[in-house]
């Protein structure tokens, strides 16, 4: 699966929960929302090899991204 967050991207194998994937890339599961294949999902979903996952910061602003 391909995970993107702001300008970063990672490739991870499928078969793990979104929560585990978030931890694996070094982010805090409480601080991001998970969008899998353009749909918002909870972090207990198991991600597949072909999934495209976008992580969105819960808090933003102050000159950061405009997403």
């Amino acid at each position: 699966m391909r995970i993107t967050y702001r300008d970063k991207a990672w490739e991870l194998p499928g078969g793990m929960t979104a929560r585990d994937a978030i931890k694996k890339v070094g982010l805090d599961p409480e601080a991001v929302l998970v969008v899998r294949n353009d749909e918002l999902v909870t972090d207990d979903v198991i991600l597949g090899d072909e999934d495209k996952v976008k992580l969105i910061a819960v808090i933003s602003g102050g000159g950061g991204e405009v997403s």
Binding site: D44, I56, G61, V66
Partner: protein
Amino acid sequence: MKCRKCSKPAVINMRQHKLALCGEHFLEWIPAQTQRFIEKYEMFGPRDTILVAVSGGKDSLSLWDVLLRLGYEAQGLYIDLGISEEGYSSSSLAKVDRFVGKREGARLKVVDVKEVYGKSIPQLARERARAENLLPLWAGETAHNERGGSGGRGCLGYRTQLRR
């Protein structure tokens, strides 16, 4: 995980509320919570006109959207700072314009800093830095990791020149 209200797949799990909701029920819950807190903290009444400062980001546009859904006379205010780096100001204004185009009743006031003050915020910052001999502050930089430059790409602001 399932929506607590209808058992459809949840799209969000709010641990602090011990509440998982589907998209439909989340979009009902958010305005209801907003109204509850407006009343709890006596922020404003139903006949007040609200000015919502919007940046083009999801947070401020969501707030504006929720206030309109609740029936408030909520008008948007966008301040164009004139930040041209990576088209920041123009792309964020475009996001606000797209929102206004989709929302009936959304009225927007745009204040252009350059038009009002004759200079954009980056121009004013550079001039002030030159006048006060300030150093540009770069992303990820510490007070002991100085570098020169005129405060262009990646410059976060300015700080007083360190004396050794």
